[in-house]
């Protein structure tokens, strides 16, 4: 993109107009002929808030048009009212304007997608319309705008001699973005891929929230831990030992109890056996005694029968009262036995029964002895059972319940201690966490490391600047480096700002022109033209503290002019200068002269015709 024409117009006044061609353009003239005003006009059309310089001559004018052309030949004209406001874009030459043009705002804000100057002009200059630049260390980005680019193609007479970086200039709030803009021009890569870190205040707020939460958690924990006076670890070991010994004791007691219970069961079985035997013997004895009673009663009866039979025989037999026959032995109605036989039988029977009775008594005695033995065994078993039960009830059961309750107490204590230890651990963790948050949030959060400027590209740029300086006869072998701290060039080991105004101005010009040439040669983004105000004439009104501001060596001035004559048509360099160029240069470039009040006939007096 190159600058073609600037025009001021107003009603009832002839338009003020100046045109530029490809390659080098020199606009020389006396003071107060509107040269610097043109620069302000450019600044204004490129989106400045207001026209910073007002000259009385310009008061009748109301409208500013600036025409640009891209290398392929298409035109674009910007229009803006001198009093301010937004812009209109005409995609045609200035003289071909017929309509109102497309309205664009100077600069959109936030996430708005509205068309603004940058989104129109940058694509026109073959640059990415939505290039992103990192604007801070956190990695947040902003758009590349015309305003950011301004210092590298529009250099006014104050900036020219300024000690500040030609890239960053006096831009303090957007220094990073300007540095990144420079990196973009060097490499052609923007910062779109960068993922922003979180904002410091958000981090701080989050840390505060975390700290608050931790404090809330810490407070009850600290109280709990403080209320626990013992050293938890020590006591846990002690409690564990106590639990171990009680468990052993409990096991022993339980084993004893099991043994006693087993004995008790055996004894109960023994008792039941004895009882069964006692009952059984008792029953058998009952039978034997019954038998014995029978023997006794039988003997009585035998006595009785024998006696009865004896007397009965003595009685006379009578005749049967029914049939009146003697009731003889054969008589149906008589007893079968003869009483005498009964008497003898009874005696024999009695002796047998006596023998049986004697035997039975012996058996009964034996049985009764055995019964006594069993009764003794029963009593022993009962005593043993009583002893075992007493041992269980009085000794083992209380011991077991005592041990169990002690164990339970110890386990409760163990759980408590475990809890205390956990509390302590948690407390330690929280305190560590708290300390970590406090450490990271009070100190500077680790600033992200950002890639330095691309070194090869930087080297190539420095070579281009070296070429410029060689042309300008600075020396035959100038050595140009780029100081990334000052963001300025260092020539032959000496920084730009350490030179006087004149040299600073020359080096500033060399930097800007070198950058333009670099872009053309390596096909990197650039607006395509530069405008330099007073590169050779030190700004007279600037109260410089530097004393070494001697005039620019004449040799360099000669070289400067000469090199302008050799500027290729691929680029456009516009030099605004007080000094007139040598004749051969003026002939070789597009040259305009504002003669001022001393203008001779045919000479143009100033930018604005009077």
């Amino acid at each position: 993109m190159q600058l073609r024409k600037i025009r001021l117009s107003g009603s009832d006044v002839p338009s003020a107009e100046i045109a530029f061609t490809v390659g080098a353009n020199v606009l020389a003239g006396q003071s107060d002929t509107g040269k610097s005003y043109l620069l302000h006009c450019l600044d204004f059309i490129l989106g400045a808030d207001e026209l910073r310089k007002r000259i009385p001559e310009a008061e009748p004018y109301s409208q500013l048009h600036v025409e640009f052309q891209e290398p392929l030949g298409e035109y674009l004209t910007l229009e803006r009212n001198l009093s301010g406001g937004e812009l209109a874009v005409h995609r045609c030459r200035m003289d071909e304007i017929v309509e109102d043009g497309e309205r664009v705002i100077r600069s959109r804000s936030g996430s708005s997608q509205a068309k603004d100057l940058s989104s129109v002009l940058l694509p026109f200059a073959d640059m990415a319309g939505e290039a992103k630049l990192r604007k801070n260390d956190r990695g947040e980005t902003q758009r590349l705008t015309v305003r950011t680019l301004l210092p590298i193609f529009l250099v006014n007479e104050i900036a020219m001699i300024d000690e500040k970086s030609p890239v960053v200039g006096d831009g303090t709030f957007d220094a990073t973005a300007r540095k990144r803009m420079f990196a973009y021009l060097l490499s052609g890569k923007d910062d779109s891929g960068i993922i922003a870190a979180e904002r410091r205040d958000i981090i701080r707020a989050r840390d505060q929230a975390k700290l608050g939460l931790i404090a809330d958690l810490l407070e009850p924990l600290e109280r709990k831990v403080k209320s626990f006076s013992d050293d938890p670890n020590d006591t846990i070991d002690k409690v564990d030992n106590a639990i171990g010994s009680i468990t052993t004791e409990l096991n022993t007691t339980t084993e004893t109890r099991t043994a006693v219970l087993r004995n008790l069961q055996t004894e109960i079985a023994e008792l039941q056996r004895a009882e069964t035997q006692i009952i059984a013997i008792g029953e058998v004895l009952d039978r034997y005694k019954l038998l014995s009673a029978r023997y006794k009663s039988d003997l009585g009866r035998l006595d009785f029968i024998a006696e009865g039979a004896h007397y009965f025989d003595g009685l006379q037999e009578v005749h049967c009262p029914l049939c009146d026959q003697p009731m003889s032995r054969d008589h149906l109605h008589v007893a079968q036995e003869r009483s005498a036989d009964v008497y003898a039988g009874a005696r024999a029977e009695a002796s047998k029964i006596k023998a049986l009775s004697t035997d039975l008594s012996q058996v009964i005695i034996t049985l009764e002895e055995r019964l006594a033995d069993w009764r003794e065994g029963e009593a022993t078993s009962r005593n043993n059972i009583k002893d075992f039960q007493e041992r269980l009830d009085r000794q083992l059961a209380p011991a077991l319940s005592d041990l169990n309750s002690r164990l339970e107490k110890l386990i409760r204590r163990r759980v408590e201690l475990e809890g205390a230890r956990n509390d302590k651990d948690q407390l330690d963790n929280l305190q560590l966490m708290k300390a970590e948050i406090e450490r990271t949030s009070t100190g500077k959060t680790g600033t992200s490391k950002w890639e330095p400027l691309p070194s090869v590209a930087l080297r190539n740029l420095c070579k281009c600047i070296e070429m410029v300086l060689i042309e300008w006869q600075w020396s035959t072998e100038p050595r140009v480096e780029f100081d990334q701290a000052d963001f300025d060039i260092v020539v032959d080991g000496q920084s730009r700002q350490s030179h006087g105004k004149g040299v600073r101005s020359i080096l500033h010009s060399a930097f800007v022109i070198g950058l333009l040439r670099y872009s053309a040669e390596y096909e990197k983004p650039h607006p395509g033209f530069v405008v330099l105000d007073s590169p050779l004439t030190s700004y007279r009104k600037s109260p410089s503290v530097n004393n070494g501001d001697g005039p620019i060596p004449p040799m360099i001035e000669v070289g400067f002019w000469k090199s302008l004559a050799e500027v290729t048509s691929k680029i456009q360099v516009i030099v605004i200068e007080n000094k007139e160029p040598p004749k051969e240069v003026a002939d070789a470039v597009s040259y305009t002269w504002f003669a001022g009040d001393d203008a001779k006939d045919g000479e143009r007096k100033a930018f604005i015709p009077s």
Partner: protein, 167 residues
């Protein structure tokens, strides 16, 4: 015949023994008559007096299921009475109540001759028997005996523990 022989070899429960017991019972109730059924009942009660509450100790052992004795005594008692009657030791009358038996003058005299311990026991128990049941009408006595015949001696049915005896 063999059963006859065996009965001869054992003098117990012979008509003679039973008849002699009848003499003591009839002596004890003096002038009163008694029929065969009453005398059958009396014969049981006389030797098993212990089965009656507050009765004297039984003269015969308390063998199991002795109640059944009552059911088989009728013939024996009848034979006993006949044997005694053949020596005129009792009086036998045919009345509207049936055949009734009663002591006569010989009865008391004869029983006085018998003086073994067993005979003394029979005398004492006969006295108790008549005092206890003498005034009870025939049918009431029947009911009383019928109600108890199954009970007497039935306590022996749980004679089981002897099986566990270790010999």
């Amino acid at each position: 015949m063999s059963s006859d022989l065996r009965r001869k070899s054992r003098p117990f429960n012979s008509p003679l023994e039973c008849g002699l017991r009848m003499l003591f019972i009839l002596t004890a109730q003096a002038e009163r008559f008694a029929d065969l059924q009453r005398l059958v009942n009396y014969d049981y009660l006389l030797v098993h007096s212990g089965d009656i509450p507050d009765g004297p100790k039984s003269l015969h052992p308390d063998v199991p299921f002795r109640g059944n004795e009552l059911l088989v005594k009728r013939d024996l008692v009848h034979a006993g009475l006949t044997a005694m009657f053949s020596r005129e030791l009792i009086e036998k009358s045919f009345t509207i109540m049936g055949i009734m038996y009663r002591a006569n003058e010989l009865t008391l005299a004869f029983t006085k001759l018998l003086c073994s311990a067993y005979a003394d026991d029979l005398r004492a128990r006969s006295q108790w028997l008549v005092e206890r049941f003498g005034d009870m009408p025939d049918h009431e006595l029947e009911i009383f005996m019928g109600a108890n015949v199954g009970k007497w001696g039935a306590e022996f049915d749980r004679f089981t523990a002897a099986r566990d005896l270790e010999l």
